[in-house]
Symmetry: C2
């Protein structure tokens, strides 16, 4: 956490307690929280925190390339503090998101006809499926 603080101060971040709480919450978090998730967690410690602060901080972190915004859930955005390029799988039942650390970039070549229209800068694979919990629920239902 010490390094975290040093790191953000270095980047010109003004380190407020709210912001620090958000950073702490995100640090190493693999649950892909939404803004709402972050807000309600921080609110426990700083009951006056506002959504604006959460969104502002997320925006700043995005701008500084410290978090990824994940567009895989049709309902809302999720955030991921792991900025190493990776992919995701979302459960079509409960929307749980899992991380996939696998480099598919070699295989993901664009066909020529589209390379003429777009210059790619990156790619991301959305897998969708059923998480283990929802698989079990499905099985129970079917019996």
């Amino acid at each position: 956490m010490k390094e975290l603080i040093a790191k953000y101060r270095e980047k010109g971040f003004k380190l407020t307690p709210q912001r620090l709480a958000i950073l702490k919450f995100l640090n190493g978090n693999t649950s892909h929280p939404t803004a709402e998730d972050i807000y309600s967690n921080i609110k426990k410690i700083y009951p006056t925190v506002s959504f604006a602060t959460v969104y502002n901080t997320l925006q700043t972190l995005k701008d500084k390339n410290e978090i990824l915004e994940i567009t895989i859930d049709p309902q809302k955005k999720h955030y991921d503090p792991n900025i190493k390029p990776h992919h995701h799988i979302i459960c079509i039942e409960c929307n749980t998101i899992g991380d996939i650390f696998e480099d598919y970039s070699e295989a993901l070549r664009l066909p020529d006809y589209i390379a003429m229209e777009f210059k790619p800068v990156g790619s991301h694979v959305d897998f969708y499926g059923l998480c283990i919990k929802c698989q079990k629920k499905e099985r129970r239902k079917r019996q």
Copy 2:
């Protein structure tokens, strides 16, 4: 268009003029319209059409597997009448979406550790990049 009508009537669709206009608009459309795009287009012909009708029809079409909902633009959903599985590339400047007809499924194997947590049912690749128009704009800016 004749077949289109027959096809939907077969499926138990009640064919109202508004709905028909939506079907017509979507048929063969590769622009990945949003609900708003569809609404404003239909409104030209049926000025009293409501968003509810557009969303209802989209929902029905989704249920009947006649269109795909695309979650690639963080701002809103896009719709695609091409239900053949394919992938997309979105311009990070103007949000234009292009289709990529390429089967990557062989390459997109899930690593074991995640296959234990999720049973995959599908996948979709989001490419992001710059469309040709925005590439040109960028070049102009840089000069």
